[in-house]
Symmetry: C2
Subunit: 476 residues, 2 copies
Amino acid sequence: MLDALPKPALDANSTEPLYRQLAAWLRAGIDSGRLKGGERLPATRELAQYLGLNRATISAAYALLDEGHLLSGHVGKGSFVRTAIPEPIQANPGPFPTAAISFTTSRPSAALFPVDAFRQSCLEVLDSPEVSQILQLGSPQGYIPLRHYLLEQARQSGMANPGDDVLITSGCQQALDLLQRMIAADRPSAVAIEDPVYAGIRNAFTQNGLTTIPVPVSIDGLGLAALERTLAHQRPGMLVLTPSFQNPTGNTIPLADRRRLVELAHDASCVIVENDIYSDLRYTGTPLPALKQLDPYGNVLVIKSFSKAAFPGLRVGWIIGPRSTIARLIEIRQWCDLHTDQLSQAVLLRFAESGRLHAHRQQICASGAARLKAVLNACRAYLPPGSRFTRPEGGMNLWVELPPGRNAAGLLEEACRRGVSYLPGSVFAVSTPAPNSLRLSFAGLEPREIEEGLRILGRVCAEPKVPVYEPETALV
Amino acid sequence: MLDALPKPALDANSTEPLYRQLAAWLRAGIDSGRLKGGERLPATRELAQYLGLNRATISAAYALLDEGHLLSGHVGKGSFVRTAIPEPIQANPGPFPTAAISFTTSRPSAALFPVDAFRQSCLEVLDSPEVSQILQLGSPQGYIPLRHYLLEQARQSGMANPGDDVLITSGCQQALDLLQRMIAADRPSAVAIEDPVYAGIRNAFTQNGLTTIPVPVSIDGLGLAALERTLAHQRPGMLVLTPSFQNPTGNTIPLADRRRLVELAHDASCVIVENDIYSDLRYTGTPLPALKQLDPYGNVLVIKSFSKAAFPGLRVGWIIGPRSTIARLIEIRQWCDLHTDQLSQAVLLRFAESGRLHAHRQQICASGAARLKAVLNACRAYLPPGSRFTRPEGGMNLWVELPPGRNAAGLLEEACRRGVSYLPGSVFAVSTPAPNSLRLSFAGLEPREIEEGLRILGRVCAEPKVPVYEPETALV
């Protein structure tokens, strides 16, 4: 590998720390395609000697790349350039060999996008008298007609109280970021998050130094007893939950537990942030009320977006909660990015109020039902004996625990070689990676791809694998 | 006023501090139109008695509203609901009586928007084979074709070095926010900013607790000697400048000072952030090289956007700088909001590469030249003797210093009553509000409105005004 790259121009006198310069050099190598997916990086000792740096600098650079999901490192095996980058970096075709059948991304299939309905919504906006207003600077709270529409919809379904208001955000990720800023500024305290959890939730709260408390989630669901202890002893100021079709596990919190959760959090003066992005994608079973609908205390903030049921490339999400909290979030938001893009707000409003969103959702629910059935059948048929997996009734993800002793990250390379990729559980870990777990995102694949992918995966998982130890890392 | 509102439901046991609850109640009164622009709020003592709270709580609530630009308070006169809200909140028609001739907003006139060219750009995007890709989740660094276009343009004009890269942001405001996060996380140090300055620059850096160091800017320009002392003694890690047609003063830094600035900042290991959003809007005189073009050290990051020359409602800006810095900013940005809206990125790319942006810029430069001429002539003709004002050669703003002793904030009410509004200098102050200063944003008004507005303003400023003292605030 060292021959494939020009020696880096590292500057010890730069204000940029050496490890960051080194990480940038490696990233450039990946971006340029000189370092290929699956390629093993030199041992830290080896690269340190080659560059005349100390090993800590190399380790820090590798850690930085790993944080950016560019590497996959396994104890005993060294660090590898990742063969498939997890969401959301992966969006554009990069230099990575994408497996033919990719279970890696929790997002809608582009093949299902209702492009004509989208185009029609755009045309209606372009022909409306509001165009000039849309092109002019907007409100930090969001485009007024969209705010009215969303709040009215939420009121009708019991998702907004009379004292609630709405803030349009640039997707759910910004909603999470604004919430972390608010708690950091106004009421510094820890934030409890599910473990495992979508990396965007974890990183939104950790990247600015807030303390996160993991709430264990397993194939058997969220442990309410453990959560109760956490609330009592660690006293987080905020609890972030995805009650329906959680990412990555696909778990849904049952009704009785939802009721109990609302009480527990209220008693502990802990605000609940309900990440409600998947509940509209229910393919089977009975819909459950949201925590927000069960909350008589005004203690639940709900975040939603158009990304999962419509178009992730259009960055429009929202938060609904008590007016005073929304007012505070607007203050913070204004100096982050002024406001959400108005063209997309106006187009999505047309898409929704014209009934096209509803029609499209019915379509993706029909296709989702077939895909869900396919993935459950294929898991039963092909995963090795002793495997366990969740049985979601909607959403985009399913969680697999391979038989004890199997390493999902370690098997990924072989799976990729045979044309199948997924994300190992470690990508979603907050505190305790379960090496035998992995996430299968099934919503973006056709039933026949799902079946074929799991057939291959089942074979890879069944093969005995001898771990390879390297002197350097084996000593760690 | 107290009769106009229902008594607030304040909850002393809420996790929301009382002053925030109170501010939210007042804000709701303003939003609902029950509290009208120009209306005087009760004295803190009076409201404290009425609500059974202490005066500090009332003051804190007023301060919060003032921070949100909802109030205008003058020593000796109490606090008033603002008659015109400054950018960017003002965007949507609110409950505020807008003066007929408003010099308050530094943004393009909606009447000049090239709506047909915009519509055409949208249609081309909608008809392109890239639509599905645009609707899908994108890259945190930005839409690749737009990145290539901007970087290539920047390279051709010497605004990007071979080692530079670009990050597409959700407008310049997000660029500032990402920069403050980077410096707070990686190299905690103070940030030097111009004083007076656009509130979005000041607030981006102050709202998360970074220390800002004011660099005085007057009608005579930026004081280079003072800046040199600041760099030597206070050692800021970052210096944010708007070298061309600064907001609010309209000042442009001369060439010799630009060269010297680049050297000074480099010698002091202080990164320069060049806010280059107005330089394309030069109506007269000779273009000057950007700091970025004069910098041989890779020590300047430049931020730009489509907002001023095209459409502020589409939130697309960018940062160009050394690749390692851009890599770090991408990491931070990803967990803020994943990426910038792709529909607007694609539409603005079409708008630019089709030549429509260039054609539109020529139009707004022609109209800007006429408006600039009108505002300079009218200032000469109508401002009271002893007034001073800047002579910008482009941009959107001009700075006025009324004769000593005049209070620009105090005169605003009378001006509004007569149909003219502007922003007093205090809105832009970092440390030292100059009470006799004000900003005139002229780019959004027709020459005849500018002339008429300044005629009225000149008369308001010329009238002697007896300050009214109130017992309570006079004691402060």
